[in-house]
């Protein structure tokens, strides 16, 4: 997959779909297109069937929760004069339990469904991103009618992120336990989980109870350095950056 091919793919996408795609970009040879949920089915059908695209295979559908994107927990710019800690109290997923979970509302464009398409005919890949409009009840149309393989991928995304795929024939949980509460991959779901199980000798059965055996903790804080694009790091490492 050479750059010229990918570039021309981006151009062709713009030429064919115009303003329907809110953003088309090619970074490192990977083309990404963003579009509104309402346009997804028409665009996806065209991408699969039209000769210049022919994305016969849907490789992956994946939910993303953009809550807290770009937030860190470690002060890198200034040193505190009052103590040793540079720690910033954050709501990182390791720092709270189920009962203390943050109540987050009003984060626009929080959930997205990302699809990866593959064209066997043209040997090309394309990434489609659809942001759900309502973060309280994220909804995205289902592409199961176009690529049947989407069935389980969308069930997974629903299970882990609570993204509802409209028109999905069988939107059940898939990975989590029967009767599970919550969507565990959301950023406001604690890393230690919400319930734990143990065998109760008195009741003589396995019981569920709130997690007490694990204490929420963060071993390595999340750090975003000023040089996040590694410009300076590249310069320092000089010739050694890419290869020896």
């Amino acid at each position: 997959m050479s750059d010229t091919q990918a570039n021309s793919l981006a151009e062709r996408l713009v030429a064919r779909f115009g303003d329907t795609l809110s953003k088309v970009e090619t970074v490192r040879g990977e083309t990404t297109a963003e579009l509104a949920p309402a346009d997804l089915l028409a665009v996806a059908t065209a991408l699969r069937d039209e000769a210049e695209f022919r994305f016969e295979e849907l490789v992956d559908v994946c939910g993303v929760d953009y809550l807290g994107f770009g937030q860190d927990e470690w002060e890198t710019a200034t040193v505190s004069g009052t103590g040793f800690s540079r720690g910033v109290t954050g709501q990182a997923q390791g720092r709270f339990s189920w009962s203390e979970r943050p109540n987050v509302t009003g984060t626009p464009r929080r959930f997205a469904s990302v699809m990866h398409l593959l064209s066997l005919t043209h040997n090309r890949r394309l990434r489609l991103r659809v942001y759900a409009e309502d973060e309280a009840m994220p909804m995205v149309p289902s592409v199961t009618g176009i690529w049947p393989i989407a069935n389980w991928f969308e069930r997974e995304s629903f299970d882990l992120y609570g993204i509802v795929y409209e028109g999905h024939p069988d939107l059940r949980r898939i990975l989590t336990d029967y009767g599970f509460v919550g969507h565990p991959f959301r950023k406001d779901f604690p890393l230690i989980g919400n319930v734990e199980v143990r065998y109760d000798p008195e009741k003589q059965r396995v019981i569920y109870e709130p997690v007490t055996s694990v204490v929420p903790r963060v071993l390595v804080p999340r750090v975003i350095r000023e040089d996040a694009d590694l410009q300076q790091a590249r310069a320092e490492a000089a010739d050694n950056w890419r290869e020896n």
Binding site: G94, H116, F185, A237
Partner: protein, 419 residues
């Protein structure tokens, strides 16, 4: 005689069934012996690998990748490491690329040996399993020789591989079980380096594949259980996003190693076997041939690695740790080492999807970074998950015993299906 009412009934298959390959629970709606609907229940081995990866610096999750598809460990690492390398804009040195190619192929043989053994076992042939594990043992010793671990190696790192190949292959010691002539036979390939060992192994391995084929390829029972069973048409395979041997068994020549080459695959010579009928038997033949082709690739890599030396890791200390000696005399190196192992390295904001041709199909890692030292989102695209989802569309109309043949031919491992 009064008319009898005949009803379909549901049957529970697994999660504790020897042919369920782990923890698959299948709820089958049966009409007599015929399957009407199959509903696989998965997730019994769900460990939230992706969420755990979000909570750790990049390098600390490499070990989790081994534990996804736990019979093709290094291929998983390769996908993960490549996603990081894409985002960082680094590339492993050429020797590391060859080592990765070689170990990807060793892994492919490991995986296919496990597959042929357990699939034959499911379908009633005990002996193949014992034969296959004989060679698996040798190859796992190679894993151990480079990484210290027989399975979960954590050998690939962003920027190369953990260390160079060992000069001395480990040998069997004398014990009540291995002694005298037996010990001598076991150690005859192990006198020299690991490359010498692999040289001897690859010379010998095609005859071993002949042995497996002798047991199965013309075996009447094997053919009765696999020919014409679980036929996947090319259109069906595309619609259900199949990759790897599942796709090639249906006659579509698609292999990422050829089509979107990575590591040193564009430097080595090999062929892509494809099937004709798309049934379980064709997929069996494809995988057997893939083992022979992997053997060829390993041979070429061994030859190249013998002739060319060089670094196996970048000397870019922002990403790769400095050597022990360097740390002892250079303050800068010590600081880099400290930062790398306490905080890790930041990865520029962006997203990347890196796919490798794992033994089971396309293993992909989609990674989103926001510039921090931990990934913002890691999504593992496991081939087994995609394949298993097509179960219902393939097995309905088949007999119950064919469900077992189908589970076998998917080559699923629950570590990657459930993640």
């Amino acid at each position: 005689m009064s008319a009898q009412e005949i009803r379909n009934y549901s049957m529970n298959f697994g999660p504790q069934h020897p042919a369920a390959h782990g923890v698959l629970r299948l709820v089958l709606e049966m009409d007599g012996e015929t399957v009407v609907k199959a509903d696989p229940h998965i997730g019994l081995l769900h460990r939230a690998t992706e969420k755990l990866a979000e909570s750790k610096p990049y390098n600390q999750s490499i070990g989790y990748m081994d534990r996804l598809d736990y019979v093709s460990m290094m291929c998983n690492e390769h996908g993960y490491v490549r996603a990081i390398e894409n985002l960082l804009g680094i590339e492993a040195p050429i020797r590391a690329q060859y080592i990765r190619t070689m170990f990807d192929e060793i892994t492919r043989i490991l995986n296919h040996l496990m597959w042929v053994g357990s699939n034959a076992l499911d379908l009633g042939a005990m002996a193949v399993f014992l034969y296959a594990f004989r060679e698996r043992e040798e190859l796992m010793d190679c894993y151990e020789a480079v990484s210290g671990a027989r399975m979960h190696a954590t050998y690939y790192r962003p920027g190369g591989v953990y260390r160079d190949l060992p000069n001395q292959m480990s040998q069997y010691r004398e014990s009540p079980w291995h002694k005298g002539k037996d010990l001598k036979r076991l150690n005859q390939w192990r006198e020299g380096s690991m490359l010498d060992f692999l040289d001897a192994f690859t010379d010998d391995f095609p005859t071993k594949v002949d042995e497996y084929e002798e047991l199965l390829t013309n075996n009447r029972i094997w053919k009765q259980r696999t020919v014409g069973i679980g036929v996947v048409s090319p259109e069906h395979a595309k619609a259900w996003g199949m990759t790897g041997a599942m796709l090639r068994g249906s006659g579509i020549e698609w292999d990422l190693r050829k089509k979107q080459p990575y590591a040193a695959y564009d430097q080595v010579d090999f062929d892509i076997p494809v099937g004709v009928n798309g049934d379980c038997y064709d997929r069996y033949l494809v995988r057997m041939e893939e083992m022979r082709q992997s053997n060829r690739i390993i041979k070429q890599c061994v030859k190249w690695l013998r002739e060319n030396s060089g670094p196996v890791m970048l000397s870019n200390y922002k990403v790769a740790p400095p050597s022990r000696e360097e740390m002892k005399r250079d303050m800068e190196a010590l600081i880099h080492h400290f930062k790398l192992f306490t905080e890790g390295y930041g990865v520029p904001a962006g997203e990347s999807y890196a796919a490798v041709e794992a033994p089971k199909g396309e293993f992909g890692v989609y990674m989103i970074s926001d510039g921090a030292n931990k990934p913002f989102r890691v999504k593992v695209r496991a081939p087994g998950f995609a394949h298993l989802s097509s179960m219902d569309s393939i097995v309905s109309g088949h007999m119950l015993a064919d469900v077992v043949a189908m589970i076998g031919t998917y080559d699923i491992v629950f570590g990657e299906v459930d993640r």
